[in-house]
């Protein structure tokens, strides 16, 4: 049975990244924007794992790529925790999560 090639994996992850980017641009709810950011990070992880599988080192996958994914997942988890704490603090101050209403820093 034929197996999927590296190009297909990279293309799929590129599409996933584009969907995340579209979400960040289109959506107005700051929590959904945050979810789309996570989606973009996940897409980058997929390319890293695909390259790790493609670049074999002595017959085994190159685990440096997967190490990078491990650290990305850890940092993303910490980022979500702090980001959601900021959103809750913001909601307490302004009673909104719509980015159209959060323009105090606009010049």
């Amino acid at each position: 049975m034929p197996t999927a090639s590296l190009t297909e994996y990279l293309f799929i992850s590129g599409i996933l990244f584009s969907i995340g980017l579209a979400g960040v641009i289109i959506r107005r709810n700051i929590i959904v924007i945050f979810m789309c950011l996570e989606l973009m990070l996940a897409a980058a992880s997929l390319t890293l794992v695909a390259f790790s599988r493609a670049n074999e080192v002595k017959g085994l996958p190159d685990y440096d790529g997967q190490m990078f994914v491990f650290f990305v997942i850890t940092v993303a988890a910490a980022e979500v925790a702090v980001g959601l704490a900021i959103i809750v603090a913001l909601y307490r101050a302004r009673q909104t999560v719509n980015t159209k209403d959060l323009t105090s820093l606009q010049g």
Binding site: M1, P2, T3, A4, S5, L6, T7, E8, Y9, L10, F11, I12, G14, I15, L16, S18, I19, L21, A22, G23, I25, I26, R27, R28, N29, I31, V32, M35, C36, E38, L39, L46, V49, A50, R53, A54, K58, G59, L60, P61, Y63, Q66, M67, V69, F70, I73, V75, A77, A78, E79, V80, A81, V82, L84, I87, V88, A89, Y91, V97, K100
Partner: protein
């Protein structure tokens, strides 16, 4: 990963991704994100990255999405989504990612990255002979490779605690700082009298 399975999971992942952007209700967006990440974890497993796939489900689907749902329900955001998106924003949100995809199509048409080398029982037994000498003969890594299975977790652990020991400790500090930051952000600010 066989091509039909790859496309099945890729479609699940992309459908979840589109769901996040298209759903009006944030709770529905969060559930589409879970679907998307389950598809992604399946793709990871198909790339012989079993540990990363399980980590993706445990950390994202298990912990992060529960946190998202918790916050969405805590803030009761359902009524926030009744405003229309403006046409220029919608156009920018479609055209810019579309340009990125077109660029990718152009690049991948002119380049040939080749196929993955299959990982078979024989290739793993051959890989065992090429392992560096500092991995002892009675270790789990050598034992499993000799039997022809990939000791994914053991190899990652070996790398994490030798080559990546310093970054691991830095990440530990980062998590500590994030914990302290969350607690101090969630505290109610009391104005000075």
């Amino acid at each position: 990963m066989p091509t039909p399975l790859f496309y099945l999971f890729a479609v699940i992942m992309l459908a979840g991704g589109i769901g996040i952007v298209a759903m009006r209700n944030p709770v529905a967006s969060a559930f589409s994100m879970i679907v998307s990440f389950i598809g992604l974890a399946a793709l990871f497993v198909g790339l012989n990255a079993y540990f990363v796939g399980i980590l993706q489900i445990l950390v994202y689907t298990g912990a992060v999405m529960v946190l998202f749902l918790f916050i969405i329900m805590l803030l009761d955001l359902k009524k926030e989504e009744d405003r229309e998106t403006k046409t220029p924003t919608l156009l920018a949100g479609i055209i810019i990612p579309l340009l990125l995809v077109l660029q990718l199509v152009a690049v991948f048409q002119t380049s040939d990255l080749g196929d993955f080398k299959p990982i078979t029982k024989d290739s793993l037994i051959a890989a065992e002979a090429q392992l560096p000498n500092d991995i002892p003969a009675d270790s789990q890594i050598r034992k499993e490779l000799k039997q022809g299975s990939l000791p994914d977790v053991n190899l990652i652990g070996q790398k994490l605690f030798t080559e990546y020991n310093f970054p691991l400790q830095v990440i530990g500090i980062l998590l500590l700082v994030a914990t302290v930051g969350c607690v101090s952000l969630s505290k109610k600010l009391i104005p000075k009298a």
